[in-house]
Amino acid sequence: MIEIERVSRAFGGLQAVREVSFTVATGSITGLIGPNGAGKSTLFNIIAGSIPPDSGAIRLQGEDITGLPTHRLFHKGLVRTFQIPHEFSRMTVRENLMLVPAAQRGENLLKSWLSWWKVVREDREILRRADDVLAFLEIDHVRDELAGNLSGGQKKLLDLGRTMMTDARAVLLDEPGAGVNRTLLGKLAEAIERLNRERGYTFCVIEHDMDLIARLCDPVMVMANGELIAEGDMASLRQNPQVREAYLGTGSSGQTGTGT
């Protein structure tokens, strides 16, 4: 689905991403882990067109998409979330979701003026979808609240909800679990699995919660200092000394494995 080929990116003297290559297979849920500052989010930014790579190429289903602007990628079915939630803070939660669907008739000003009733009808349909998503994420009680007033975790959920409003084929999730309550996180994992299974979404997930990664992802890529240092399933990575040293540490969090 997504082929990342020898992608590099430096910021000043810092080589944030170095010659990284891997493939996110269609229909997979691929994990991406690594220490803080390893370059994971930077890689996401490159894939999603937010920043250009210094070298290397990105292909989406064989098509070269390197350097395409974000909104074009969206229409090719590539969607992302942000590590720090990017909500529309002065719009309501519902509006945050209703914004997302592509090619809305009413996004054309002339059509809005000339065929108002069709626009309203279409919008009603979108609203229904949005309410479904909110109910699923258990934040429908705040649906008319301004998104800026949500709690930190609620914002993360809203971010995920926006990807559910699309007909995406490939979704990049940057730490969907950070700050989300563990009980809800379980449900979130379910949601991701279901989207993957039922709608055929392909996921690439950055996450520091090893329980979540272990439960969802196969394969898992490990980055450190901008390079890809290992890949495989979580169980094998846990045994990899390099990964343990760079990332998991020896303490409890890497090992208390199967919480759920």
Partner: protein, 310 residues
């Protein structure tokens, strides 16, 4: 001070209010809905006024005239002429953030004004263009009907735009650009559209103004009356709220003209200069409005959800 006189002044007054209300609506599309800080309103206002003036007046040896088009065609032309200009300005300034856009647009507006001032072959330069007629020989009353019709039409169009998904994208852009891009919206396109539509509305107001006062010269398009007053109207009325924009135009113009009577009440030796005191009063009233109702008289309300009655 008889009733007929008051009525006559009222008609006149409302004409100007209507013209300013249209400008405030145009600004609302740019600022209230998209967050584009355009302080070059006077530039587009001037483009509209001059376009209509040049196209509808009789011929003259000193400036490019003699087209003698009818009123409505002149107004249509304001929009058509403004379109490419606003598009160009919008393209140039597309990437600019709020404060930068503000200062760029005020610069462009001044350049436009200096152009009209110095290119006499086109605009009769400093002398201005006289003899712009009201359509069908209407007086202030008749013209008020026309202006009111335009205010209503523009209000309807802008309000529909605000409630449409198009408006929703604009508000999203105002809120958070990267996230809007991540949601697949072509930010540059939407911003440009809002800028161009808003500017064309201002140009249309310019055309109405030219026919109302019958004369245009560069003096009418200096920043104070061409731009800041419109801002004051929108902010005092309630940015983001289209009725607020109209109400703001009414209230602010009322303050502007009624302070003169207020200032006359105080003895001159107490306040030095009556007229300076009037400006002082305007400033103070404005401050009071801003401090006591910073959201404006009619604050922004979120557009109704589809199916919701509002």
């Amino acid at each position: 001070m008889d009733l007929a006189g008051l009525l006559a002044y009222g008609l006149f007054f409302l004409n100007l209010v209507g013209i300013y209300a249209i400008m405030a609506l145009g600004l609302n599309m740019q600022w209230g809905m998209t967050g584009q800080f355009n302080i070059g309103i006077a530039g587009f206002f001037a483009v509209g006024a001059y376009t209509s003036a040049i196209l509808t007046t009789g011929s003259s040896p000193t400036w490019l005239g003699g087209f003698g088009l009818p009123f409505l065609l002149g107004l249509a032309a304001t929009v058509l002429v403004c379109l490419p200009i606003a598009w160009l300005v919008g393209r140039i300034t597309a990437r600019l953030r709020t404060d930068y856009l503000a200062i760029a647009t005020i610069g462009i507006a001044e350049i436009i004004r200096l152009f009209f001032l110095n290119e006499g072959w086109l605009t009769n330069g400093v002398r201005g263009i006289p003899g712009i007629e009201k359509p069908l020989g209407t007086g202030n009353g008749g013209y008020l009907l026309i202006v009111t019709a335009f205010v209503a039409l523009i209000w309807l169009l802008v309000e529909m735009a605000r409630r449409s998904p198009w408006g929703r994208v604009l508000r999203a852009i105002r809120d958070n650009e990267p996230a809007t891009a991540a949601a697949g919206k072509d930010i540059a396109r939407f911003r440009l559209q809002a800028f161009v539509v808003g500017s064309c509305i201002m140009a249309l107001a310019g055309g109405l103004y030219a026919h109302f006062v019958g004369f245009v010269s560069p003096e009418a398009f200096r920043p104070l009356y061409g731009t800041f007053l419109v801002w004051v109207m929108l902010i005092a009325g309630g940015s983001g709220n289209n009725l607020g924009a109209i109400l703001g135009a009414l209230v602010v113009w009322l303050i502007w003209s009624s302070t003169e009577m207020l200032a006359g009440v105080l003895p001159t030796d107490l306040i030095g200069s009556e007229s300076a005191f009037r400006v002082f009063l305007i400033g103070v009233l404005l401050q009071i409005i801003l401090v006591s109702r910073p959201q404006g008289m009619l604050p922004e309300r979120r557009p109704p959800m589809p199916g919701e009655q509002r």
